[in-house]
């Protein structure tokens, strides 16, 4: 028995334990994917494997394309507005010492301390008053607010990590503050922008509570609420197959984005640790 084989024997419990955990974490996702194409009585797919459940899903209610469009639009708006607001805000917090800076920054972070429901009930009333009820734009603005604490914090520390000499020398050369931001700083904070976009996308794409409260028209819904509604609306029997197909449609973009941008996802948590 050499040293290596003893080492392998010593490591066996570790591999059994971690392997078992890996199976438990992967199993539900794999099951949903398989169940969505498997035959099942009272679903769109009764015999053999196939995409019957996806056909049911496609034609349900206002149609999958409609819900998909709503979700994509909301996600796009939230990412875009979050980038603009936190990009400009992060630049201001990092580079300018204006009056009220610290109060405003703390106030932005304080959004995290307030329960979702506490703000959404009055927002429901407010959006009604200005005619933004059932509006995907109204929903996007509300979802953006809840992205601002993390996004502003992330962009502030991203700008602070860029050496000041870079923009100071450009300012000396007569560059305006906006062109310093646009041409010199933005390329340096790209990783921060990607992290902010990733978190904003995942939050907007997956949010359930805000659209449930703010959108009353079932045809204007985003995917999560639409698919939750799908369960009740099919006649008589509950269509589990189409629901799992819906889960796959919702989860797939998130999983793919995560696999490609895992580095940026992890950085979102590293940043908190660095600054305490």
């Amino acid at each position: 028995m050499g040293a290596t084989s003893r080492n392998i024997l010593g490591r066996t419990p570790y591999y059994v334990l971690t392997g078992g955990l890996a199976v438990i974490f992967l199993f539900p996702i794999l099951w949903a994917a398989v169940a969505s194409v498997s035959p099942q009585a009272a679903t769109g797919q009764t015999v053999g494997m196939g995409l019957g459940n996806y056909t049911t899903l496609f034609n349900f209610g206002a149609g999958l394309p409609r819900f998909m469009f709503n979700s994509v639009l909301v996600a796009f708006l939230v990412v875009a507005i979050t980038l603009v607001v936190s990009g400009l805000g992060g630049y201001a917090f990092a580079r300018f010492d204006f009056p009220g800076r610290d109060v405003l920054f703390l106030l932005t972070l304080a959004i995290l301390m307030v329960p979702y429901a506490t703000v959404l009930i009055p927002l429901y009333v407010m959006l009604h008053r200005v005619g933004l009820q059932n509006s995907l734009v109204g929903l996007s603005l509300v979802l953006t607010v809840f992205q601002l604490p993390f996004a502003t914090y992330m962009m502030r520390i991203s700008f602070e990590a860029v050496p000041r000499e870079l923009d100071e020398s450009a300012l000396m050369d007569g560059c305006g503050t906006f062109s310093v931001l646009w041409r010199i700083l933005l390329p340096s904070v790209r990783p921060g922008l990607i992290t902010v976009s990733l978190f904003a996308f995942l939050a907007a794409w997956n949010d359930f509570f805000a659209p449930l409260i703010l959108l009353n028209d079932p045809t204007q819904q985003t995917l999560p609420v639409a698919i939750a509604n799908l369960r009740q609306q099919t006649m008589g029997a509950i269509d589990y197959g189409a629901t799992e197909a819906g889960v796959v449609v919702m989860a797939l973009p998130c999983l793919i984005l995560f696999l490609f941008l895992q580095r940026h996802f992890v950085r979102g948590f590293m940043s908190g640790a660095i600054k305490g």
Binding site: A41, G89, V119, L202, I227, I238, V247, G272
Partner: protein
């Protein structure tokens, strides 16, 4: 260029005015915070003091009626008790499993890298998607658990996952632990990696055992990360909604109604925005007090 020569072409007056330019760049932030955060907070306070039906709107002040009504609401205290039970259960499991998995994936390597990714995959899936996934997963008609156990011969009848209050709580807890364990692993892993190696090496030279190292080095130095994980987990669990709304619908017999679900029911089923606002205000105050206590307890004793 020295700072002195740099300041010459543009004087102190320019410097002061230059700092004010920052105000222009925070206009969007100010607008969002004022319109979508501060205004709703003022309005929710106002609503909690008013008779405010969902459809007809503000009917004038009625303080303290909404708050008295909470006291008499038969669902309120059961919802508070259930939410706290759920929070304690989920927090213990998530922090424990998060720390356990973080310790398992500390080293560098292919298998460890793959493991981290696997544990993090459910974090990327949305909570509503995960709840819908498990709604099918637990169902007697397509759920895979009962058939597997029946095939092995462990059970002879399908297990019911959501039919009793205990099984509904445990099934929802499993879903949440599955969905969020990776998140807490990541937070604690960042903390673990911030502990310098030479602290362990020095204690190893002094003959410390692995258990002693964990107890006297890892846990104390992990305190800031543990504090952040704890506050995040307690806050998130106290505000639980999606998972119960989708998976149990508060059932069986309202046994799994959480506080936020109660707010939703008051507002949109009983159509009473005033009393929904009153519960929201109480939840906000309770959360602020709780987080202040947690911050105080978990603050580094040496720094305070």
């Amino acid at each position: 260029m020295t700072p002195a020569t740099r300041a010459t072409p543009r004087g102190a007056g320019w410097r002061r005015r230059h700092q004010l330019v920052g105000l222009v760049y925070v206009i969007p932030t100010v607008a969002f915070v004022a319109v979508f955060f501060l205004t709703p907070l003022v309005l929710v306070a106002r609503m909690s003091l008013s008779s405010w039906p969902l459809l007809s709107g503000d009917r004038g002040l009625n303080f303290p009626k909404n708050f008295v009504a909470i006291w008499n609401n038969q669902l309120f205290w059961p919802a508070v008790v259930f939410t706290i039970e759920y929070t304690v259960l989920v927090t213990i499991l998530l922090i424990g499993l998060g720390l356990g998995t973080a310790l398992l994936v500390q080293e560098v390597g292919r298998w460890v890298g793959a493991l981290r990714t696997i544990f993090l995959l459910p974090v990327a899936v949305g909570l509503a998607s995960a709840s819908l996934l498990f709604w099918g997963f637990y169902s007697p008609s397509i759920g895979p658990i009962s058939p597997i156990l029946e095939a092995v011969g462990v059970i002879h009848q399908p297990i019911s996952f959501l039919e009793t209050s205990t099984s509904a709580l445990l099934s929802t807890t499993f879903l949440i632990v599955w969905k969020f364990a990776g998140l807490y692993m990541l937070i604690l892993l960042v903390g673990l990696q911030g502990i310098p190696d030479d602290v362990y090496e020095a204690s190893a030279l002094d003959g410390a055992s692995r258990g002693q190292m964990f107890r006297y080095i890892t846990l104390p130095l992990l305190r800031p990360s543990l504090a952040m994980a704890l506050i995040l987990c307690v806050t998130g669990s106290l505000l639980a909604f999606d998972q119960f709304y989708i998976l149990t619908k508060g059932g069986p017999d309202n046994a799994t109604v959480t506080v936020v679900q109660l707010i939703y029911r008051e507002a949109f089923q009983r159509q009473n925005l005033g009393s929904a606002a009153a519960i929201s205000v109480i939840v906000l105050l309770a959360l602020l007090v709780l987080n202040a206590i947690q911050f105080r307890l978990l603050r580094d004793p040496e720094r305070s």
